[in-house]
Amino acid sequence: MHRTDRRTQTIVLTVLLLAGCSRAAAPSLTSTPASAPADAAFRELTADQQVAQALSRLTFGARPGEAQRVRAMGVDQWIDLQLHPERIADPSAESFFAAYEVYHSTPAELDERHPRPQTVLNQLGKAGNRANRSAADSARLRELAQGQRRMISELQGGRVARALVSERELQEVMTDFWLNHFNVYLQKGPPEHYLLAQYENDVIRPNALGKFRTLLGAVAKSPAMLFYLDNWESQADSNRPRLNAQGRVAGNMTPQQAQRALERRLREGQPLPPGVTPQNVQQLVANQRRRGLNENYGRELLELHTLGVDGGYTQADVIAAARALTGWTIKRPPVGAFTFNPQMHDAGEKVLLGHTLRAGRGIEDGEEVLDIVARHPSTARYIATKLARRFVSDTPPGALVERAAATFTRTDGDIREVVRTIVTSPEFFARAAYRAKVKSPFEVVVSALRALGASPDTSPRTAALVALLGQPIYGHMAPNGWPETGDQWMNTGAILNRINFGIAVAANRVPGASALTWPGAEALRDAPLDQQVDGVVRALLGGEASPETRAILTSGENPFAQTARDTNVEPSAAMTPPPPPGLPGGTPPDPAAAAQRLLQRLPLLKGLPQIVGLAIGSPEFQRR
């Protein structure tokens, strides 16, 4: 006890001293809210650093003027506001995305307006062969291919653009977090790209700070996930009892007998069972043939979505979950809506994690599975750990994870409250957490563009750059999502691409961003080198750079009065046109290699653009 007390006293003393120092050094910092919670007394970071920390973790990087605004509002008030995106008006995002077709269409509408070229080729039959294709058909096929590319470009570019313009900054960070947690893959197969906008907009984003069980349920019923992890095709094994169309356990008929009976009724014009029509009977018969359990979703539900790989489940639990979720499928696949098909459902008894799911039930089987796993203590721990890793450090303090998991359990999985526990904690505002995270490629690109006040890009170029840096959007094939720790993002190749990206930004190769006209650049263009470096460090590095980095940024020749005329920065118009993104379903494309063209023939920079390029390429900028 003695030791703990002394340690606490020391921390308090240190914090008071630090606070005193920073006040003395920068009198403008006294706007720290008087009503700060008691925890604030234990915050190791200075007021300025707290603002920088909050902005670097709750947003994709500070935009021009944001640090001042957060300081004026008070960092705690600002965090609270960001935890409530519904209280934040977001007119710029709304108006920007008004023109995005994918955000305003259902998957079925997209499919109807933009059929895949392959579908049309199949319809054309022999007439579709390249040799005997008519000019009109060729033009139509080209147009269709363009339509596919535009959809994918909107999906990928839209993620970058929203991360740039949205005022609901934490909601965007959390949307990114959950899209990674509940990873789906653009190239899974033809329908997936019709389903992704719906997944992002209707499933993930509205629930990103909501209840975990609601989010989990929305994901489980999303055509994007049903398709990605094959659950839409998973059916009761043939030795299991099923339900009839009325949802009652079917008699002793084997599936084969049931199928023959259905076909006989159809042939003989007898009345068909409810739910069966002459139109869908073929589909139902096809379903009967394609029968069998598919464990894929059941496994990832436990391993990746809820309990975690060490969460204490067995192969028997995987099978039980998969069986309970049979019949959770897509109506009019592949671009229809969720439906429960009782005739695909395994109505036998299952035991999941010690809970018995009694025989003879329907959709409630799957709902109960989701209830059980969403409320399992392993899930609370697993989600708390992942969130703490995202917001605090690669190795988050155990005590913080414990508290966050406790919040998860106490609030029945209220994500907003778990995040609040984490981002208002002393651990979040500790020295050890400051700049402790290595940015992902998406974060590198977006934070650079945000720092320069870039306008969002409607072309596929920025998204192609994210791919080049190693993180193609919606491009992670395996369901475990992108790495969450810095060591996995950092290697010689990765750092090389990041440095070249910085040069590309400074050379005006990246749409919407300019190293000469960003807010604040006007005042710096003709300023002495020292002030230029200060301005760049403020805008891009949160106001802090190591002495070494500052020395190198300041070491350039030709220090004064760089203007647009005497820098050899190329205008954006000179940018190489981007390669078309790969189309789903075919050979996996190599988006990183294709996007490489964006970084070709980059110039030697001078003046302010060079300082910007160096700053983006600096070690400090790789962290958040």
Partner: protein
Amino acid sequence: MTMPRRYFLKSGAIALATMGLSPSFLRRTVFAMELPAAAKGKVLICLFQRGAADALNIVVPFGDRWYRQLRPSIAIPEPLRGQGTAAALDLDGFFGLHPSLAPLKPLWDRGLLAPIHAVGSPSSTRSHFDAQDYMESGTPDVKSTADGWLNRYLATSGTCEANCAPTPFRAVAMTQQTPRMLEGAAPTVAMNSLEEFSVRGGGDQVTRLEALYRTGSADVVHGAGKDMFEAVKMLKSANPLQYQPQNGATYPRTPFGNHLRQIAQLIKSNVGLEVAFADVGGWDTHVNQGAVQGQLAQRLDDFASSIAALTADLGDRMEDVVILTMSEFGRMAKQNGNGGTDHGHAGAMFAIGGAVKGRKVYGRWPGLAPEQLYEGRDLALTTDFRTVFAEVTRAHLGATRLDAMFPGFTPTDRLGLLG
């Protein structure tokens, strides 16, 4: 150690380019050592099929009477005269290659290719991520292992003073991120392509960018930066891109094909490559995997054509190269309800190279009868993958510290893959 060292025999260009940089950097390059031993020596290329490749349709046990029963609609027909390529390519009267592996058949015929069957991880996990993790960490069922087995080989295979050069290209992964297998204390390079491996803009800009990473901080970002600048200079001088495919080799224009082409270029440019890694996805065939044609066949086309091009391109150099293919586990013996296969247990590997005693399928065949299957559903395991890794690294690369590479593992049997 003051013996003169050079990364390259002709390093004048580097010496000029590095003037004005830090003294420590100069010490490490201009006074660098002779052509690295490894460059004259052996190369191991590890190719990972991510997603659990269906070994039973790749090295087809057509001689097992249960095979066709388990896979009524996806079995590969047994080789029969007159059936052309629509059947397995007979190897030994019991096993055959999937017909899409036809480009690899000449390697078998010449005794350079050895399939290993019923091989894999003793762990019972059917999770891709766990199983890949175990195959790469080399410690099945131990998740806390921080590094990969191949990195542990690099880290423990003698000191640079003794028998190798501190070349940054000793271990190269043609991947965007460092694969688990190469994570660890020994430095490695991960890159997506050779073409893009340079800092842009030139001159003062590059010098100053380099200086940003020379500050002495020991964190992961600075470390990666320092290694990168060193590697870029070396690669520029060696100029691997000058080496075009030889001997009529035609690489598929796929990411995998491109990556293998660039591994060949690295080997030919003598940058000291000892260990190379590439991976290829798309093997998780739960649905409609097809048989002689279809999804799996397409993946195998790319896989086999790329490897065949690599072996042709390297020509005589294959005497010093061993290619080892692997996948995290096999797939269920019985096909599932969707014309695909779910996660299984044991799988198959290929060892290819001049030193390989090919024209033989290695590993004891456990059989596919119901009572022979692992947990009643999967191909059983008869060879631990560590046996193969240990044997290949010891026989081919001269690894001595197998205890450090595979802690707690003692190979029980010897396959004799490399004599």
